[in-house]
């Protein structure tokens, strides 16, 4: 795109601009500009198109004893931390959990709506809804709003007649069945810890510790994740919250401070 600089030529001699400027112009100067609607924004808009995922870390995995679900608790609005105590693991009913990633209001509202639909299913059919069914209900709703700007990246974890179930559902309309998922900006870090430590035959305590560590490591490296690492277990009797630990304190638990040798020498000297 050729910039029209004819305006420059007429003004310069009139204002009595220094002669070297006028002399240096051999013809109408121009420089190429990209053919975009907004010159100031197009680079940022391009980056926004491949924008990193929702600011959070959530994970869930199936193992021998059921499903383990864990999440951090930080909510951010741009660079501002709007809350460090957000409940990202939502209790849909006593045997099903949903995780929250993306728009807080979108996740809260649609999970509450899903809980209502699950209860209506129980009343209409005299039996609990399956994890497959619940996740499909949510996925169909989100698909119908596809393209309208909802931001939801959730996992539905539960225990039904077929055993433990885990589905990933998102606002693009995707729905995936799987054994291991992590969602959010901290998910790469969580996957690293989770994938390397995972065994199907873990005990509940080992699985809880693995989940806790994965969230902890994600909060350590991802600025958009932090607060409290919550860990839930879904078994045949339903879900149970196993732990909620401040990740700042987890740091010192995993990296205890040992007194330095200098201090030790001084106490020796002070002794009788």
């Amino acid at each position: 795109m050729k910039l029209d600089t004819s305006g420059l030529e007429s003004v310069a001699p009139f204002l009595g601009v220094s002669s070297e400027l006028v002399g240096g112009l051999s013809g109408a100067p121009y420089f190429e500009l990209p053919n975009t609607a907004n010159f100031d924004r197009f680079q940022k808009d391009a980056i926004q198109m491949v924008k990193p995922a929702k600011g959070t870390t959530t994970l869930a995995f199936i193992f021998k004893e059921g499903v383990m679900v864990a999440a951090d608790s930080r909510a951010s609005m741009g660079g501002y931390i709007s809350s460090q105590s957000v409940k990202k693991i939502i209790e849909i009913n006593p045997y099903m959990l949903g995780t929250m990633a993306g728009g807080a209001a979108d996740c809260q509202f649609w999970h509450r709506n899903l809980g209502i639909k699950c209860r209506l299913h129980e009343l209409a059919n005299k039996r609990r809804i399956s994890v497959t069914g619940a996740s499909k209900l949510l996925a169909n709703i989100l698909y119908s709003y596809r393209g309208m700007g909802l931001s939801v990246g959730t996992m539905i974890a539960g225990w039904d007649e077929t055993g433990p179930g885990l589905y990933y559902v998102d606002s693009e309309g995707g729905r995936l069945k799987g054994n291991r998922f992590s969602v959010g900006s901290g998910s790469p870090y969580a996957y690293g810890v989770l994938d390397s430590g995972y065994h199907y035959d873990m005990s509940v305590e080992e699985a809880a510790e693995l989940a806790r560590r994965a969230i902890y490591h994600a909060t350590f490296r991802d600025g958009a994740s932090g607060g409290v690492a919550s860990v839930y277990h879904v078994g045949s009797e339903g879900w149970k919250k196993l732990s909620g630990d401040d990740v700042g304190e987890l740091y010192y638990m995993y990296n205890p401070i040992t007194p330095s040798t200098v201090e030790q020498e001084m106490t020796d000297v002070a002794g009788p």
Binding site: A37, A104, A105, D106, C107, G149, V228, S230, K241, S243
Partner: protein
């Protein structure tokens, strides 16, 4: 064909800050009374606080036209509730009603940043904080509005209590007395007024406790 751009916006930001603090048996809700648009002050005497129910008060900053529409809607819904149930709405119920009301306009939001304060069914103070589209959380204290980034870190420093997500559960109620909380609010607004151009003029403080609702005013810098 370049994308069409709008030549006007339905929204405006009238500025201002709100704060709410929950205590063991009281709740303090406060907001400044300045209403601005751009660099102009429209009035120095506009209340951002409204009583939704006997035990439930809301303070909202943002676009006051949307705030007014929201207040009217909630007041109407509360009236219907009273007709149907023969009692006032409790604070937790109103909190969820507000959340749903905000979300119903998910695709053309109320530009309203709300803080709900009141007494829960046991008489303990409760504060609920919202974003513009309805996500909400019960907290011990909160601030919203143009001065919130200045106020919130100070409240965290003075009032931060163990997160409700911790296990084993740790009690999260402010240890402050009612008068200490009111003094804290006055301090906080005086500081916010110094550094936020949209906050100032006058401070309106509403205190909810077992005796009912009390209101007091304090002057702030008018520059």
């Amino acid at each position: 064909m370049t994308k069409q751009q709008a030549n006007w916006s339905p929204y405006d930001n009238n500025g201002g800050s709100c704060v709410a603090i929950a205590g063991a048996d009281y709740c303090v809700i406060a907001a400044d009374t300045r209403m601005s648009t751009g660099y102009n002050i429209l009035t120095r005497d506009y209340s951002k606080i409204t009583k939704l129910a006997d035990k439930c008060v809301m303070a909202s900053s943002g676009f006051q036209a949307d705030v007014k529409a929201l207040q009217k809607l909630l007041a109407a819904r509360h009236l219907i509730y009273q007709h149907q149930h023969n009692k006032q709405m409790g604070c937790p119920a109103m909190a969820q009603l507000l959340s749903n009301t905000l979300y119903y306009k998910r695709f053309f939001p109320y530009y309203s940043f709300n803080v709900l304060g009141g007494l829960d069914n046991e008489g303990k103070g409760c504060v609920y904080t919202y974003d513009a589209v309805g996500s909400y959380e019960r907290v011990g204290y909160s601030s919203q509005g143009s001065g919130s980034t200045l106020i919130m870190p100070f409240l965290d420093n003075q009032l931060k209590s163990p997160s409700p997500l911790l296990l084993p559960v740790q009690d999260a109620i402010t240890p402050l007395s009612e008068s200490e909380a009111v003094d804290l609010v006055k301090t906080v607004f005086a500081s916010a007024t110094e550094r936020d151009i949209y906050t100032g003029d006058k401070l309106e403080i509403v205190v909810l406790n077992a005796e009912g609702i009390q209101r007091e005013f304090m002057d702030l810098r008018k520059d």
